[in-house]
């Protein structure tokens, strides 16, 4: 009796229990269909072969329900059919667009209160108007026309990828053809306007990357950009020489010294020497040149959009969902569009990197700007700043802390992308790493991975130090003192070049070790690492094998089967129910909409498999992460150490541990899940540490004074208070896990990830890739929405933040 009373005190818990009961009841109601859905795709196959109906009539459905059996449409959502949405780009439809836009704008102008400043104040109307106009003209009107007068062909939701593809292909190859003279084939050629535009953009970007690259390792592309290949042909001497690695190493040393002091200079310098000595010089400089362009572009774009979002809530509101999607969408899903629109090469890698690295910068810029106290802004205004001065001299510098965090994120993301970017043409460490893995040379791959992490850390530290440097206004410097570092660098350059010149006579094997150490002539620790990996595999193989078998047979397969045997109505009930309990009807609808999108595609079964792997990965990661985080936070040194480990693993290319994991666990879900757990434990640990560290000390003191021992304190005070923050960590864990489950397709999975990889070679690669990417993103966003809403409410209740 008492127990029920206490339940009544907690209506949410009661609701949740009720929800679970309903959920499990629904799970039991699959009846005859059960055997069809436990194996992925067989339900769809049965429908396609006419074995079963995709849906039954209303009365029949009622009858089935009465007998405790769900009708088929509640088990798997049938294909949604609607009339052909043939997007039309004819002149008629463009006219309709213009007319609708003009009409709507006129109307909203007429009904506006402040006519004078209408344009500046109501530009959101302009935006929505143009969107409506575009929809009406390009989609709705043609569709209506087709329906009324044309041959109405049925299309389904499943064909959206094809439509996307056709639209993109039309844009890239057919729309607005312009005649371009191609001297190579001595003829005029039709080329689409968009293609020419994106290609000239690509050329400029590539020029920048190659400029930086050739300063570092030499080359002819920059010379060609200003002359031509023919000119180069006639002037064989024209070659931009590389900076000898000794010069770059001393240069980084000097830079580090100038910006921060001896510690940083030693670290940066030694890293450079490490890279050179281990023969990774050229690939490392290739990667670096890409990052040196992609990172600033991301930072500038991020700041720009962050500032715009800060100035206008409308932009913020439009931008936020886009950022959410960009951050949760797997990279592989936008590789094909990038290749189609921008071509293949370093620039494509840079663009993919920028897409991935900009969102956190935008978020952190916005966050930083929002935290600037209004009085500081007023102070700036009262000091007579115009809007530009206010932005650059007051707002941006004041928001610096968060923006620097953003820069840190950008650098980390840029290097984390280096492997994936090599799929679409980025040269450098990432490509070599893939190559090494394909030869199963894990030791070499490890060395490359270490290079990537080191470059990330050095760039991060240097950029931080640069942002922190202080000016001296009163010292009266003479010429030497003022330009000390430039002079020193000039000296180093001279010395290094001289050394390189001497080196060209010195070495016997035709390789000048003072100039460039070639890829395979450096030192290597490969045998050491290889031996380590071999040792692990040899000594652990059998015990892990039996563990693996037990895990797969007793946990993973039943779990996967359970997920697949969920009728669609049960999944919706569960997710929307949790959404409702946490955030009311609004959350339920949002979560439901995300799920509906996935359910309408033909990949629902695959999405369920993705969800199963994410669930398992998240559960284990959270347990490990919170445990490790809680233990480490008891000690300051351990805390710092664990945070360092988190940083390292976040940049360390996850591809590397895929291979040893396969060797230990085979091409199984276990391998994928191990990789997932390694990666997803990072945020779980980090947020636990942060959550526990940031508890107000007064509360801990209060706990101490009431005589709680350490464990009691942890359970009764620290955990409840840190819990909202830890939940945000779990949120991140889900996103990280999703990300890695998709990468897990490299091992071999049968979930959404496999199809995303497949999209790389599909006829409908763009459409399929994007739709699949959205499916993954929406799983992430549904969970994200629930957890974020909960954490926000909980934090409010607890009065934190």
């Amino acid at each position: 009796m008492n127990y029920i009373d206490s339940l009544k005190q907690r209506p949410k818990l009661l609701q949740f229990v009720a929800l679970l009961i309903v959920f499990f009841l629904l799970m039991q109601m699959t009846g005859d269909y059960h055997s069809l859905i436990v194996e992925r795709d067989s339900f769809a196959k049965a429908v396609a072969s006419g074995e079963i109906e995709a849906s039954v009539g209303f009365t029949e459905a009622l009858g089935m329900l009465a007998s405790g059996q769900l009708p088929p449409q509640l088990i798997r959502i049938p294909e949604l059919s609607f009339y052909n949405l043939s997007a039309s780009l004819s002149s008629t439809s463009l006219l309709i667009v213009l007319a609708v836009f003009a009409g709507m704008s006129y109307y909203s102008h007429q009904t506006s209160i402040s006519k004078g400043s209408w344009v500046s104040k109501q530009y959101r109307h302009l935006f929505t108007n143009s969107l409506t106009a575009l929809l009406t003209g390009l989609l709705i009107m043609p569709t209506l026309f087709n329906w009324l007068f044309g041959a109405a062909t049925m299309t389904t939701f499943w064909e959206i990828p094809r439509l996307i593809n056709e639209l993109a292909e039309n844009l890239m190859y057919n729309w607005f053809p312009v005649e371009i003279y191609d001297p190579e084939i001595e003829d005029y050629e039709d080329s689409a306007l968009i293609k020419e535009l994106t290609r000239s953009f690509s050329r400029s970007l590539l020029f920048l990357i190659e400029l930086v690259r050739e300063i570092l390792v030499g080359g002819v592309k920059t010379i060609v950009a200003f002359t031509s290949w023919d000119w180069l042909e006639e002037n064989k001497w024209a070659y931009w020489p590389a900076l000898p690695w000794t010069v770059v190493a001393s240069g980084t040393f000097l830079l580090g010294y100038k910006l921060k002091g001896l510690g940083l200079s030693l670290f940066a310098g030694l890293t450079t020497i490490y890279i050179a000595a281990f023969g990774q010089w050229e690939p490392a400089m290739e990667t670096l040149s890409l990052v040196l362009i992609a990172a600033p572009v991301s930072v500038i774009l991020g700041m720009l959009w962050g500032v715009l979002a800060f100035k206008s809530t409308k932009i913020e509101k439009t931008l936020m969902p886009l950022l959410n999607i960009a951050q949760t969408m797997p990279h592989f899903s936008y590789l094909v569009p990038v290749v189609v629109f921008f071509g293949i090469g370093d620039h494509a890698g840079a663009i993919a990197t920028v897409i991935f690295a900009t969102p956190p910068m935008i978020r952190l810029t916005l966050l930083g700007l929002k935290k600037v106290s209004p009085e500081v802004i007023e102070a700036g205004m009262m000091n007579g700043c115009n809007s530009r001065q206010l932005l650059f001299k007051v707002l941006v510098p004041t928001a610096r802390r968060d923006m620097l965090l953003g820069v840190n994120q950008v650098i980390m993301q840029c290097l984390a992308m280096s492997v994936i970017a090599s799929y679409i043409g980025a040269k450098g460490l990432g490509f070599n790493l893939l190559l090494a893995l394909n030869q199963l040379r894990i030791g070499q791959a490890l060395e490359l991975g270490v290079c990537i992490v080191l470059i990330a850390v050095v760039l991060d530290k240097l950029s931080l130090a640069w942002a922190d440097r202080q000016m001296d206004y009163f010292s009266n410097l003479n010429f030497y003192e003022r330009y000390r570092y430039s002079i020193l660098f000039a000296a180093v350059l001279l010395l290094g070049s001289l050394l390189a010149y001497i080196g060209s006579f010195l070495f016997q094997d035709g390789i000048n070790y003072f100039y460039l150490i070639p890829h395979n002539k450096g030192m290597t620790t490969e045998p050491f690492w290889q031996a380590g990996v071999d040792w692990i595999i040899d000594s652990w193989f059998y015990s892990l094998k039996s563990f693996n078998e037990v895990l797969i047979i007793n946990i993973l397969i039943p779990m996967k089967t359970a997920y697949l045997s969920m009728p669609v109505i049960a999944t919706f009930t569960l997710f929307m129910g949790v959404g409702y309990i946490v955030g009311g009807a609004r959350s339920a609808i949002i979560v439901g909409a995300f799920l509906l999108f996935i359910a309408l595609t033909q990949w629902w079964d695959r999405a369920l498999i993705t969800m199963y792997m994410v669930t398992f990965g998240v559960i284990v990661s959270v347990i490990i992460g919170t445990l490790v985080g809680t233990i480490c936070v008891q000690n300051k040194a351990a805390t710092n150490f664990i945070l360092l480990v988190c940083d390292t693993f976040q940049t360390f290319p996850s591809f590397i541990y895929l291979i040893p994991v396969i060797m230990l666990f085979g091409i199984t879900d276990t391998s994928v899940l191990i990789a997932v757990i390694i990666y997803a434990t990072i945020p779980a640990t980090r947020y636990t540490v942060e959550g526990l560290r940031n508890i107000p000390p007064s509360l801990i003191e209060a706990g101490l004074m009431s005589g709680a021992n350490r464990i009691q304190r942890l359970i009764n005070i620290e955990f409840p208070l840190a819990f909202p923050h830890i939940m945000l960590g779990i949120n991140q864990t889900v996103i990280f896990a999703l990300f890695m489950v998709i990468i897990g397709a490299m091992i071999g999975t049968d979930d959404l990830g496999q199809f995303i990889l497949k999209a790389l070679s599909d006829k409908q690669g763009i459409g399929n890739g994007l739709m699949l990417g959205l499916c993954v993103a929406f799983i992430g966003l549904a969970v994200d929405h629930i957890i974020n809403t909960w954490a926000k409410k909980r934090k409010q209740t607890l009065g934190i933040e």
């Binding site: 209160i113 402040s114 106290s373 009085e375 500081v376 007023e378 102070a379 205004m381 009262m382 000091n383 007579g384 700043c385 115009n386 001065q389 001299k393 007051v394 510098p397 004041t398 610096r400 202080q470 000016m471 206004y473 009163f474």
Partner: protein, 350 residues
């Protein structure tokens, strides 16, 4: 303070209403502002029909509790927020009609402002913070730094030029804020609760410092505070605000002696008058008294009562009150002082 002189700041019928539908409600009323109706429509009235003038070298203290609209009023006059209705003149120019460019010029040359939370730029050193407005104005770095060094000397922060704000105490930070606001030598000085965030002792010290500076600089000042004692201590005139309305605007003495409304009376009730009032506000007509009837001791008419009370009470005869030219302008009776010191009730009970 002669009224013939042109006021430096002049506001007339100033309104500031917050709320998304403000304009709609006003438009519906053909541009007339009906405060009650606006409140019913869910708008918040920040400033309600404020009119006043501030003259050169005068310090007007706007006093009110939080939410009374005093800071809003200040921000309207500095045009940090838009005004809903009314007019504001600075040196005769209507600033509400100024273009953004003119406004920036005005701020760069004529105005300085000090903020409650100091509002220093965290990424700049003391020196850079103080020279900031000068650099914004376009001074050369050398010039700006030189001038900033002078300001640092003025506010007594020598030796801390290269500190960052986070390395300074609250009082020191506000000195930087003051120095920054004075760097461009403004005519008009806005201070928005400059000392509220400081500890009582430091606050007292800063007030003294502020009076010292004002004695030397003679700026025209609009000073906002929620601390009535501070207002009494500093002000030439005080404007007391409640719910956006200026309840009374007068000299400290008049406010204490003749509170205009019940609200003001509540404020003044506990004010120790001897600490506020000057002798001239309580002295009596000299009447038919002669030199012989008066004691030899004389008091200046602008002295605060408290400072002379003991001496006056020890005299057996009434004390003569003299002006700056040493003319006798009135007399101070013993019982008046007792009355001031102990109040009516206490005297009656005794």
């Amino acid at each position: 303070m002669s009224t013939t002189q042109q006021p430096v700041i002049k506001c007339s019928s100033l309104y500031k209403i917050f709320g998304d539908n403000t304009q709609q409600v006003i438009q519906k009323n053909d541009g007339k502002i009906d405060v009650t109706e606006l409140r019913e429509a869910g708008c918040v009235v920040g400033v309600n029909d404020a009119s006043f003038e501030v003259y050169e070298g005068e310090m007007l203290v706007v006093m009110g509790l939080s939410g009374s609209g005093k800071s809003t009023l200040l921000r309207c006059i500095s045009r940090l927020t838009d005004t809903t209705a009314g007019e504001i003149f600075i040196n005769g120019d209507n600033i509400l009609e100024m273009s953004a460019k003119e406004l920036i010029e005005l701020r760069r040359n004529k105005m300085g402002m000090v903020f409650q939370s100091f509002a220093l730029l965290p990424h700049k050193t003391v020196l850079e913070n103080i020279s900031f407005p000068l650099q914004i104005k376009g001074h050369s770095t050398k010039d700006a730094m030189q001038r900033a060094m002078d300001m640092i000397k003025l506010v007594d922060l020598t030796g801390r030029e290269n500190y960052y704000p986070r390395q300074l105490s609250g009082g020191q930070q506000q000195r930087v804020g003051i120095a920054r606001s004075l760097a461009v030598e403004p005519d008009i000085w806005f201070l928005d609760e400059p000392f509220s965030a400081l500890d009582p002792l430091i606050r007292k010290e800063m007030q003294d410092e502020f009076l010292r500076l004002q004695a030397a600089l003679h700026k025209t000042i609009l000073f906002v505070t929620h601390d009535f004692d501070e207002a009494l201590r500093l002000a030439d005139r005080i404007a007391i605000m409640k719910d956006g309305v200026i309840e009374q605007i007068d000299t400290p003495a008049n406010i204490v002696l003749n509170p205009a409304t019940e609200y003001v009376r509540k404020f003044t009730a506990d004010v120790p008058r001897e600490k506020v009032l000057k002798i001239e506000s309580v002295m009596e007509e000299i009447g038919n008294l002669t030199e012989a009837d008066l004691s030899d001791f004389q008091v200046p008419c602008d002295a605060i009562i408290e400072t002379v009370a003991e001496k006056v009470l020890s005299e057996s005869k009434p004390v003569a009150v003299v002006d700056q030219q040493n003319n006798i302008v009135g007399v101070l009776n013993c019982h008046t002082v007792i009355h001031m010191l102990f109040g009516e009730n206490q005297v009656a009970n005794a």
